[in-house]
């Protein structure tokens, strides 16, 4: 499925981009990420533990920064598994300065495979939207621009 969104965070465009294109810092921006391993300047893996009212979900993901244009664009691809299900996504973020802050517009393509494709078909898009917003908010903090 395709999901898109737009968020403005109180962080400089260059600084935010620097976080999003740096596996080490990007991994730290993932909500509840653990066991982070940075392989090189474009690849890292992490176990995400998004916690909802449903309980804790363990998603082992491998990420790759597949495309990056300094200061303005980054495309992050991720794939991983949660139990008997697979998740694959590709998020393209375009950054534009907006006053002191940065407006991030993003489009994502999301695949869920396994029984989850049916079980979470109403929710996955919304969950991804929340995750991306959380990453951007955390990214803004990490970029040293204080809180949004």
């Amino acid at each position: 499925m395709n999901v898109s969104g737009e968020t403005t965070v109180a962080a400089g465009r260059e600084e935010l981009w620097a976080v999003l294109s740096d596996p080490e810092r990007l991994a730290r921006a993932l909500p509840g990420a653990a066991d982070v391993t940075v392989e090189d300047e474009t690849h890292f893996s992490a176990v995400a533990h998004p916690i909802t009212a449903l309980g804790e979900t363990r998603v082992a993901m491998e990420f790759e920064i597949t495309e990056a244009r300094p200061g303005e664009f980054v495309r992050i691809a991720g794939s991983g598994s949660s139990g008997e299900n697979l998740i694959a996504l590709s998020v393209a973020l375009t950054l534009a300065s907006e006053g002191e802050g940065t407006k991030a517009s993003w489009q994502a393509e999301l695949f869920a495979r396994g029984v989850m494709a049916s079980l979470l078909q109403r929710g996955l898009g919304e969950l991804l939207r929340e995750q991306v917003d959380a990453v951007l908010a955390a990214g803004a903090l990490i970029s040293g621009a204080g809180h949004s």
Binding site: E84, L86, R113, G114, V115, A117, S118, L119, Q121
Partner: protein, 828 residues
């Protein structure tokens, strides 16, 4: 009412038994019910064996992927895990399953688990055997499978285009079968018709009757004897054996099948042989009995689905008086990823080429295709209901476009009562029926005229009323020779069923049959006809519950499918009971010192018709033959067994492969349904306000059981028409993998169903009965018809069998958009 004069020009004279009547024809309460009501049924998940292990299947989350590697080491390391089995091993241990398709599709290599490649989401790639089911699932999560995803194709028509990914390299394309069915002269008809109605596209969706009990089995490969015991809920074991045996090198004598109570089948449990094969291999590897119970999501994603079919470029020649000459169409049937009963569906629809109508010219260019979806299997109304829905859509659309009254148009074109037995353009013979009378009765049951008035009165109220009609056929007792129409090399023809009726040591009458019932009440109806023939009460007849290959008799066709029990099953029971009766009379006459012609059987006694006091109870006959035999003359003692087997054989010949003509089925039960729906103008939500089902199935053995089958088939049709569908996304993921998203119709969804009675005995069967139970999918036609009737002028035609609120909402809106309506009329 049809008079069966001249039926001998179609089939040899059938003598109908005069003994039936004391019990058959009556709604005798079912013998099965006590145990089922008390929770004493024995369903497959209720069975267990010493040392059994529990099985969990690891399934592909991809719809199409190469399997790079499978690592089971972590799973096998779990304490309590007995064994694992992977597709890689299966590729060595199993020969590909026998294929009924001719080459190239016949070259398909189908295994019990994915070998090298997974071709639909949910396909098993490995399985784990452990001491508990919980543990097996835990360990299953540790099986590491590396997949290389491949391009996915889910569209049943696009899949045969050049750029589509090929599922089975050995076939070289995604075409499973193609053939032209051309009867009469449709080109001449289109040329000479006053009007030609052209319909762009009609789509029959994927669904399943989803039995409430999922598939399961307890399988034990006995290392000592080499006999493999399959305790399962497979509903056609002899068919399953035909696939399992050659695949893993087992003779029929080394396969023991049994089932007692089966929690619904509807055809979906015919193709479970793939799982039975995997379980047999796992049992041999582990040296243990293995038990598997399918979860609901596994059942929905990876058991079997009903056939999905798309009809393109439909052209219908119509005369100005309303006579419909026939039609031509291109049909694409989507078989899913493998052919496990297919391509039989590619011929079975032709049992009902003209539906209930006198169409003379029909051309169907039929293609069956392969896609990355769950393989299809026979589902209630199998392959005929798709075609019958097409025909009913054609009739309604012709009526609407050419301003004919739908009722009058049907009556004009129906096969008329006096025309039975009626030969169709492809040589099938409709045995009997009275469709106009059934239609009148159905309309009377819903009070058609009153609803027409309310329909007018409701204009502008925001609630639109629609009235629908559906006329269909339930062809029963297949001639398996029709398989030669799709593959001339197939060695099947005719049909039959076997039964044994015996008088046991203490005078008990015991019946065994080759069928494997799933709720159709065979124990009861078999007891009714046996009681009639032996002059006793059904309570004195013990019909052995369920199927057991070692104890029951069988033939290659044995099983419960294709609306045929009342003809083949009871035909066999009647034949065997008659033979037993003959022996009882012989022995009784000897013991009473009378002529056989002086003997009558009544109340469980053999007695002199002239002097009922001179009587011997059945036990006296049995005790003499089995334990006091010296009192009988030797030649008599040698000639009776009191253990009588009979095989009923319908009078079929082999259909012609070239012309695709032949007698494909023996009986034609018919259905005419009528419904009133209310459509919410703002939401598109459909509510059924009234529903009537008039089903005709010849002479009824047990009217209550017949009515129950009508209710059930109607419930399935209504569920499919409005709520139940299997939809895949472009990635081949099933979006209805639970009963939440696959909305099985509830008590609030299925309305009260009025039923009407018309009886047209079949001249071709020994008891005048026609098989029934599958129904012809009349509700699918009826609901589509009713929704279309509710739509505003100028709306698009109802083009799909499945019409949820959003689709109906689109149809409602289409009227205002003045876009294409999916139909055009060319008049001369």
């Amino acid at each position: 009412m049809s008079t069966p004069t001249g039926e001998t020009t179609y089939y040899p004279e059938v003598e109908q038994s005069e003994r039936l009547g004391a019990w058959s024809g009556k709604s005798v309460p079912r013998k099965e019910d006590k145990r089922l009501l008390k929770g004493q049924g024995a369903f497959v998940d209720d069975l267990w064996m010493h040392r059994q292990g529990h099985v969990h299947f690891v399934r592909s989350p991809y719809a199409h992927a190469r399997i790079v590697s499978i690592d089971v080491s972590r799973a096998e390391a779990v304490p309590g895990v007995y064994a694992t089995l992977t597709g890689e091993e299966v590729g060595v241990l199993q020969q590909p399953f026998f294929q009924m398709a001719p080459e190239p599709a016949g070259l398909m290599k189908d295994y019990c688990m994915a070998v090298g490649k997974a071709r639909y989401m949910g396909e098993p790639v490995a399985c784990v055997l452990a001491e508990s089911a919980e543990l097996a699932r835990d360990a299953g999560a540790l099986v590491e499978v590396v997949y290389e995803p491949l391009e996915v194709v889910v569209d049943g028509i696009a899949t045969i285009e050049a750029q589509a990914p090929v599922l089975h390299e050995e076939i070289g394309s995604n075409v499973a079968w193609h053939g032209l069915y051309d009867f009469g002269d449709v080109d001449w008809a289109l040329e000479h018709a006053d009007h030609v109605v052209r319909i762009d596209r009609l789509h029959f969706h994927r669904f399943s009757s989803t039995p409430l009990e999922t598939t399961g089995a307890l399988v034990n490969w006995d290392p000592g004897t080499g006999v493999v015991e399959f305790r399962s809920n497979n509903q056609m074991p002899m068919f399953a054996a035909m696939f399992i045996g050659p695949a893993i090198g087992l003779g029929i004598d080394h396969m023991q099948f049994s089932s007692q109570d089966i929690g619904g089948g509807f055809g979906i449990k015919i193709t479970s042989y793939t799982y039975l094969t995997a379980l047999a291999l796992l049992s041999r590897k582990a040296g243990r009995p293995v038990k598997w119970s399918e979860s609901r999501w596994e059942h929905l994603a990876a058991s079997a689905h009903g056939n999905e079919r798309t009809f393109l470029d439909i052209e219908v020649p119509v005369m100005s008086d309303g006579t419909i000459l026939g039609f031509k169409v291109r049909a694409f049937d989507d078989a899913g990823a493998y052919l496990r009963y297919e391509p039989l569906g590619a011929v079975i629809w032709s049992q009902v080429v003209p539906g209930n109508y006198r169409f003379k010219h029909v051309r169907v260019d039929y293609t069956e295709t392969l896609t990355n979806k769950c393989p299809v299997g026979p589902n209630r109304g199998y392959s005929r209901l798709q075609h019958l829905w097409l025909i009913e859509r054609i009739v309604d659309i012709v009526a609407k476009e050419l301003n004919f009254d739908r009722v009058a148009l049907r009556k004009l074109n129906y096969v008329q009562p006096e025309e039975f037995p009626y030969e169709t353009p492809n040589g099938c013979v409709y045995d009997s029926g009275d469709y106009p009378a059934m239609l009148d009765l159905a309309l009377e049951l819903i009070d058609h005229d009153a609803w027409r008035e309310r329909q007018l009165a409701s204009a502008g109220s925001g609630k639109r009323i629609g009235i629908g009609i559906g006329s269909t056929l339930d062809s029963g007792t297949n001639n398996f020779g029709q398989s030669r129409i799709i593959n001339s090399a197939l060695p099947f023809s005719g049909n039959g069923e076997a039964a044994v009726v015996r008088l046991d040591l203490y005078g008990e009458v015991t019946v065994t049959i080759g069928t494997s019932p799933q709720g159709q009440g065979h124990e009861t109806t078999a007891a009714q006809v046996t009681a009639d023939i032996l002059g006793c009460s059904p309570d004195q007849v013990h019909v052995v519950a369920g199927y057991n290959k070692a104890a029951n008799t069988y033939v290659g066709f044995s099983g419960t499918y294709a609306s045929q029990f009342a003809v083949t099953g009871l035909g066999a029971v009647m034949g065997a009971a008659e033979r037993l009766r003959g022996e009882i009379v012989k022995v009784g006459a000897c013991m009473l010192g009378a002529e056989e012609s002086d003997i009558e059987l009544a109340d469980g006694f053999v007695r002199l018709a002239a002097n009922p006091e001179a009587a011997i109870p059945f036990i006296g006959i049995a005790a003499t033959v089995f334990a006091n035999v010296a009192e009988l003359p030797g030649e008599l003692a040698d000639s009776v067994t009191l253990n009588c087997r009979y095989v009923y054989r319908p009078p079929f010949t082999v259909p012609d492969h070239e012309t695709k003509r032949g007698k494909l089925t023996l009986t034609y039960a018919s259905q005419v349904h009528a419904a009133v729906v209310e459509v919410d103008d703002e939401t598109g939500q459909v509510t059924i306000l009234d529903y009537a089902a008039v089903d005709e199935c010849g002479r009824k053995v047990n009217p209550k059981i017949v009515e129950g089958q009508v209710h059930g088939a109607t419930g399935h049709g209504i569920g499919a028409a409005l709520y139940e569908t299997f939809e895949y996304d472009g990635d081949g993921q099933l979006l209805n993998a639970t009963f939440g998203d696959y909305h099985a119709a509830t008590s609030l969804d299925v309305p009260h169903i009025r039923t009407g009675e018309i009886e047209c005995p079949s001249p071709f069967t020994p008891n005048g009965a026609k098989g029934m139970g599958e129904g012809g999918g009349a509700p699918l036609s009826t609901i589509a018809s009713a929704i279309e009737d509710a739509l505003p002028v100028g709306a698009h035609i109802v083009y799909d069998t499945h019409n949820n609120s959003e689709r109906v909402h689109e149809l409602l809106r289409s009227a205002a958009q003045a876009g294409p309506r999916g139909v055009e009329v060319i008049s001369r």
